[in-house]
Symmetry: C2
Subunit: 340 residues, 2 copies
């Protein structure tokens, strides 16, 4: 099969890889109908760390089930399915509490590599959510978004306790931050403040439900949120970047007793205990348990209540994946969809 492999920072190739096959009896193999490039894929792409060995890429996917292992019960060949970027059994105590991304048997799909024609899905029954049927073509980007960016933004908005009467601020105007705006709106937030200096992203943010766009960053940004909220700060803040500055900005934008949902993969983030102590915020985040939300997200997409697929602003055939990495690295694209 054809698949994306990273050989070194900046060196991504589409090449022949062994066909995905059933390894464990709980596996399925899907034919990928759409995958995409994640902001987190760029961390390796931008180096500087050399890779120990070439690495298959990709962890987001929708597709059609081609094979199932002997112990797969709920998923059937021919099902059109969406899964999260973490495979999970969905039966352990951690999964049942809603933290499937930390399932005791979890498998990071990035180790499988879904930017390919076929993909092995571990724990198929626990991981995959079938759609009601074969989706119309225009629904595919949205279903694919549910696999990671939408699910992650949704989790962040839930962690920020977005809801009626609440003001939610969102740090990060990438695909996850924009998805968090959409989620906060859907969860009923009254006011949604998006930090952005990027006109197109800000425009999509407004389309998704942002009521205010703030260009200031850091402490100036936090001060602006306080001004907008009677001096109190936001009830909830989403952090969708992963830098120290973004995390500080998020914590300082929240009111005492507020909620910060952080989903940006942390890079050099160090929190000062005393500041956190006096902030009195709730802090919750990490790799999003997307599986918790997938059935609802699929339903909202299927019913055309939400249209998160708009975060994709470039679609390329899988064979041109390297162009997609370049476009995201150079910020010419927010999020790149790859078709077979």
């Amino acid at each position: 099969m054809r698949g994306v492999v990273m050989h070194a920072p900046g060196d991504v190739r589409v090449e022949e890889r062994p066909d995905a096959t059933i390894v464990e009896p709980t596996d399925a193999v899907i034919r990928v109908t759409a995958s995409c490039i994640c902001g987190s894929d760029l961390w390796g792409y931008r180096g500087p760390a050399p890779l120990a060995e070439p690495r298959p890429m990709g962890h987001e996917y929708v597709g059609v089930v081609e094979q199932v292992g002997d112990e797969v019960r709920d998923i059937t060949v021919g099902d059109y399915v969406v899964g999260s970027f973490v495979a999970s059994d969905n039966t352990c105590e951690i999964c049942r509490a809603g933290y499937q991304s930390r399932c005791v048997h979890h498998v990071m799909m990035g180790t499988v590599g879904t930017q390919a024609e076929l993909a092995r899905i571990p724990h198929a029954d626990g991981t995959l959510v079938p759609t009601p049927g074969v989706p119309d073509a225009d629904l595919v980007p949205s279903l694919l978004a549910a696999s990671d960016v939408l699910g992650t933004g949704w989790f962040a908005a839930v962690a920020a306790e977005a809801g009626p009467g609440r003001t939610i601020a969102v740090v990060g105007d990438g695909a996850v931050g924009l998805s968090a705006v959409l989620a906060a709106r859907q969860l009923g937030a009254e006011r949604i403040v998006l930090f952005s200096r990027h006109p197109e992203r800000a425009a999509l943010g407004r389309k998704f439900g942002a009521t205010d766009v703030v260009e200031e960053r850091g402490d100036a940004g936090a001060a602006r949120v306080k001004e907008l909220t009677g001096g109190y700060g936001a009830h909830g803040v989403v952090e969708a970047v992963g830098t120290d500055e973004a995390m500080s900005q998020a914590i300082r934008s929240a009111r005492p007793g507020g909620h910060v949902g952080f989903v940006g993969l942390s890079h050099d983030v160090h929190l000062d205990g005393l500041e956190l102590f006096y902030s009195t915020v709730h802090l919750h985040g990490g790799p999003a348990p997307v599986r918790r939300f997938l059935p609802e997200l699929v339903r909202l997409i299927w019913d055309r209540t939400i249209d998160p697929g708009q975060v994709f602003d470039l679609t390329l055939p899988l064979e041109q994946a390297a162009d997609g990495y370049r476009a995201m690295d150079e910020r010419r694209a927010t999020k790149v969809l790859l078709t077979p």
Copy 2:
């Protein structure tokens, strides 16, 4: 009036101070019937930082109202009252959300100094909770505990989401940690693991509801909690120390998706963002909004449902406060009560 004043690290004196008086029309003045020495008072006592000027000490108190300002409506001269270590108006948006310790008009009672015969209580209507009558003498220590250590331990247990079916671990066997054990039991926790190497404190912890006592610390302690919980970790963990080691131990003792309630005043705590990210815990803490819980705590004490006053293991007259500081500094006492 007589009152405790710290002149320098290690130098605490009882001396004449100006009588407390009404300054703002929302103030009350109480005659203190009991106050006490807090673990946090020891940070200054142990130095090494010299004091800019002599400092009145104490922020915990119960007493009888002697005077009220012109704008005080709900508190009456003669009321027997309990208040938190933070005075709060209890009407601002932050107070109404339950975060009175971060009231927009909050006053830290440590700046007032309640280790004295009289104390000025700002925002009397918002701060003070009258008891149903003059308490029996044996209830006074418990009511005094509600002013800080019990209220703080209670907040920590709530932040750790103690409740039926839950396993709660408690890092710190001081008065706050022990109070958190009591709170977790009262909130319905099924299993309560107290970290302690101190036989008397562990014994009181068991009396308060601890089902397990673990002597290991740090990662070994966290590993022991995982062993006790089927490999998952505790549902909730209370951190009541404030050191970097204690915070790490707390986070590592919690299961993915678990809750860490931290109330130890942070000293040199630095959290690594990536570890926190992958821990997937909820982190919440800070100066406890004791006022949120005071009415319920007073009721539970009045009904003799709980007896948190047992954390006091030394009672001294106010005039001997310096002996009390020494006893706590030398760990001969867990918590010292001061009588007029």
